[in-house]
């Protein structure tokens, strides 16, 4: 009977049999190894619900990891396919990876003004975006507040904004070059122009959408315009404003690459163009990834910032 149980542990009769063996096991030396296995089987039987939990956990883990991995795999697959069919004129993922490893092993080198590490190029672009975007925030956010608060100004500026907003920021580049007489300020000017609109518009909309209830509180308390701005307008506009900031940074990062292609100097956009002139396609592909990753990080940081400052709406 012992051997029968051992050979068919999944028999319908087995659980009781296993228990009986486990109970009897210590008395007979020969039964010991069998008993050990039998108790293990019994233990795993009782642990089944726990294991199911673990299974659910691992399933949700795989559902979180597998689809993005598949997406990435698809990208690499298509890339490899394109690379193979074009006869390596577009380098494949493996070679690009190797090139990336060499590039990122020394991202901060300087061999003259036109040959600098990718790190310097990214930092130069980020610096331009920061300056242009910062200036746009300094001008755009207060402008948005004022436009949102006063109907006259809103009607005055709405046609101007509607007219200028659809213009590609790059169309402003020659004006920037003309006025500022330099490539770098012109690029910053382009960033300024492209990132100011989302901030003005979103801030103004936020101000116009401040719940009337809050404004009634302000009116009953007869608060000063400054107090209204700091205690009521600003906190309730903040989520809208941060949306504007997020859109602005996204656009600025899109535009800087194009602007730098035109202005030259140091910067990730210039680097792409420079590598195109060198016919170094691997570096262009790497640049595309670097631009994407930096953009992703900017977006992620601003989303985090926005959620930290969004107040739960009070519902009665």
């Amino acid at each position: 009977m012992v051997s029968a149980v051992f050979h068919s542990p999944l028999d319908s009769a087995s659980p009781e049999a296993i228990k009986s063996i486990a109970g009897n096991a210590p008395s007979t030396g020969a039964a010991k190894p069998l008993a050990a296995q039998a108790t293990a089987a019994a233990a795993s039987a009782t642990a089944a619900p726990q294991r199911r939990d673990w299974a659910a956990l691992s399933r949700s883990f795989w559902m979180a990891v597998l689809p993005p991995a598949c997406g990435l795999g698809l990208l690499l697959g298509i890339w490899a396919l394109v690379s193979a069919t074009t006869g390596q004129s577009i380098p494949g993922p493996a070679e690009t990876w190797q090139q990336a490893v060499t590039i990122f092993s020394d991202p901060f080198y300087r061999n003259g003004p036109n040959d600098q590490g990718v790190g310097w190029n990214v930092l130069a672009s980020l610096e331009r975006v920061a300056i242009g975007f910062g200036l746009a925030a300094v001008v755009g956010i207060p402008a948005g507040f004022v436009i949102g608060r006063f109907t006259f100004l809103s009607r005055m500026f709405n046609p101007l904004i509607s007219l200028l907003r659809p213009v590609s920021p790059l169309a402003w580049l020659p004006i920037g070059l003309l006025v500022f007489k330099g490539a770098n300020p012109a690029a910053i000017w382009t960033i300024f122009i492209c990132s100011i609109w989302p901030m003005i518009i979103n801030t103004a909309v936020g101000v116009q959408r401040v719940p009337q209830d809050y404004m009634n509180v302000a009116r009953v308390l007869n608060l000063s315009e400054w107090k209204i701005a700091t205690t009521i307008l600003f906190p309730s506009v903040l989520p809208y404003m941060l949306t504007g900031v997020r859109l602005a940074v996204g656009t600025a990062w899109l535009v800087i690459v194009a602007a730098e292609m035109l202005t030259g100097g140091v910067g990730i956009g210039f680097w792409v163009w420079d590598e195109w002139n060198n016919l170094n396609v691997k570096n262009i592909l790497i640049a595309i990834f670097v631009i994407g990753i930096v953009g992703l990080l900017l977006e992620y940081a601003l989303v985090k910032l926005a959620t930290a400052f969004t107040f739960e709406e009070v519902k009665a």
Binding site: N216, L221, F311, V314, A316
Partner: protein, 270 residues
């Protein structure tokens, strides 16, 4: 009720209010005449859309009348002001401020020029204690219940030591038990502070329990005051004892009679 009840404190004189809507002019109120004495508790009652809140907003100064005049303490009401505190229907607390800061905002506005920071804080604490919310002072409105929010709203209004307390269905959104509790608290607070109160309600029991005078409004459009009922029940009033009080029942019947028999359909009574 006391002797000062005879004096005029708030006067509403031949007030009309017409709103411009997409469909043209909408006459909300017509020919409103009302006098409220100092220390009096007045309830405005009527069916939905009869212009109760419109009248309250006029007294608050949040809107201006199309014609007619409103006076408070013999001065024309030109706009809203902290001497006429409003408890809003939906409490209107600022969600990014703690309960303490919500009340402090009002206290600072009214007493900030004359009193020290410590005194202002003391006033704020006192107002929160008055509504029994000392323990929730540092919580944000999102973290407390609807009844508690409404109490903070009342604390904010009371903290300004207003001449008039205007309440727009302050307990409308609350459950019956919480409402009863807050009504009792309000009775107590009003008795202590001797405030003049104008309260919009559509709860007959609430109106009779709380007020000295019930202003019953006819159905809109062009609503007006249909009837004014004096509630001659001595204070302090107890909810439990009133349940069998003949005057209470009589008043209650009069209001119900007005609302459901005479104003069951749209018509003018006055």
């Amino acid at each position: 009720m006391n002797a000062s009840l005879t004096s005029k404190f708030i006067e509403v004189q031949r007030v009309d209010q017409t709103f411009k809507t997409a469909k043209g002019l909408f006459p909300a109120l017509r020919g409103i005449d009302l006098t409220i004495a100092k220390g009096e508790f007045v309830a405005l009652i009527g069916h939905s859309g009869c212009g109760k809140s419109t009248l309250l907003n006029l007294i608050a100064g949040l809107t201006t009348p199309t014609s007619g005049a409103l006076l408070c303490a013999n001065k024309e009401i030109k706009g809203p002001g902290p001497e006429r505190a409003v408890v809003f229907q939906n409490h209107s607390l600022l969600p990014w401020l703690t309960c303490f800061d919500n009340v402090y905002l009002a206290v600072e506005r009214v007493f900030g020029r004359t009193e020290s920071k410590a005194q202002l804080r003391e006033r704020t604490d006192a107002a929160l204690a008055l509504v029994g919310l000392t323990h929730a002072a540092q919580k944000r409105p999102g973290e407390i219940s609807g009844g508690m929010k409404q109490r903070v709203g009342i604390a904010r209004a009371l903290s300004m030591e207003p001449q008039v307390l205007l309440m727009d269905e302050p307990f409308g959104a609350l459950d019956a038990l919480t409402r009863a509790k807050l009504q009792d608290e309000l009775l107590e607070i009003v008795a202590r502070t001797q405030s003049t109160v104008v309260m919009v309600t559509h709860d007959v029991d609430e109106a009779v329990l709380l007020s000295d005078k019930i202003v019953m409004m006819t159905n809109g459009p062009a609503a007006t005051i249909g009837e004014v009922l004096q509630v001659d029940i001595p204070r302090p009033r107890s909810r439990v004892e009133l349940a069998e009080d003949p005057v209470y029942l009589q008043c209650r019947k009069a209001v119900i009679d007005f609302l459901y028999t005479r104003q069951g359909h749209v018509e003018k009574v006055a």
